[in-house]
Amino acid sequence: MDKLTDSIINKIKKEKISPAPKWIFLAKDYSIWTLFIMAIIIGGLAFAVILFLLTDNDWDIYKHLDKSFGEYLLLSLPYFWIIFLGLFSTVALYNYKYTKKGYRRSPHLIIGVNILASVVIGTVFFYAGLGLKIENIFADNFPYYRNFTQHKLDVWNNPERGLLSGVITKADDKDSFILKDFEGRMWEIQAGGAFWGGRVIFQKGERIKIIGKKKSNSIFSARQIRPWINRGRGMWKNSDRGKDIMKETRRRRVVNSERAQAN
């Protein structure tokens, strides 16, 4: 027997070394694949929220805000979810590389397939209404989330610039009804001749966005009325979200006034 081979075999025998059981390696492989699939699914969920936020955004109102389309686009992009998608795409790539044959594929190909998978899964999730649901879960459970994403609330709380939003509280007459904005102020909406866009339903409790003109501190003349959520992709209808938005707006108002007093 060769001296070196002899010493290796003797060491194995002397120290009673034996091959590790197969299940340990299988468990490791399955964990890596599970994490990879989970990362793709989470990436898909993030993409569903991105789609929801992009389709829910009103891309035509930038002129009311005295901004160029480019500036408005930069303000409107859902950075939180784009970062989220990027993060989980990286996790998926990392996991794939650690699968048994993951090294055989080019990282560019893995990233491409990974993003494509997130886009396809995310689109399915989006049409199933998951984008909206996840956005709601985050908005309801993570107080700081809205600071990153609720640019919509700020945009549509601008009566001086002709943008107003809130909940219909009295719906007797379509031409003149009462709206409570998300800060809790009551408005008489003069909507004679206004265009009712999207799938907005004229009923008490409906959340809407209005483009028009502020006539006084309690009267707003509407030119165009839209649903708060651009419908079609979500299943949310008359949930308690309006109350949550009001609560959050009040919280912000208190924080801002405390800051102002402190200064």
């Binding site: 070196l4 075999i9 060491k11 194995i12 390696f25 044959k101």
Partner: protein, 197 residues
């Protein structure tokens, strides 16, 4: 006592399966690959022979512990080269002797070129001796040196190099092409001219 004739006519992959049932069959795999792997460790590490033997032993014992993880679609040689490479890198990190140079004539024997179809290999064979090849490789970055060793000294295919280095085949091809270019540049610096630069 296990005899060499027990190993005859059996493929590496078959021996892996047998070694999982009977430890003695691992002897066949170790005796079949120990010299090649030892030479490979010496080429990529510049470690002393004693250190290289320690790395080799460590590599074969690790491979034995992970025998159930061996992928039957892979060549055993690619797998054991990969393990030996990883063990060598760990050794570099621990001892920090990566850049130590080899100077003995015995070590120079390691750098004998394997004749191949590649133009560079043919031209090198005509123009360079072991000492010159060693001197050129010594001045190259580790990543280039490593891939040239696998291709021209160990005669590994692109697929095998991909499996040993755990890099995609495309990356291996690119790296090899750059390594050849760097090798030629370094050879020119040392006064060896190539026709097809």
């Amino acid at each position: 006592m296990f005899k060499n004739k027990d190993c005859e006519g059996k493929s590496d992959e078959e021996l892996v399966r047998l070694a999982l049932e009977n430890q003695d069959y691992y002897y066949c795999l170790v005796s079949r690959w120990e010299n090649k792997i030892l030479r490979y460790i010496l080429k990529i590490s510049s470690a002393t022979k004693e250190d290289a033997e320690d790395i080799l032993q460590d590599a074969f014992i690790s491979a034995y512990k992970s025998l159930n993880d061996f992928d039957r679609n892979l060549k055993f040689s690619s797998w054991i080269y990969r393990i030996a490479r990883n063990k060598t890198i760990s050794f570099w990190r621990k001892s920090k002797i990566r850049s130590k140079t080899v100077s003995s004539d015995d070590d120079l024997e390691l750098f004998k070129l394997v004749p191949g179809d590649d133009d560079l290999a043919k031209e090198l064979e005509k123009k360079c001796d072991s000492r010159q090849i060693k001197n050129i490789l010594k001045n190259l970055e580790e990543k280039y040196k490593e891939i040239l060793i696998l291709k021209f000294l160990e005669e590994k295919s692109y697929r095998e190099i991909s499996d040993i280095l755990k890099k995609p085949m495309g990356t291996v091809a690119t790296l090899l092409s750059r390594a050849k270019k760097k090798f030629k540049e370094e050879a020119m610096k040392q006064g060896i001219e190539f026709k097809n630069l």
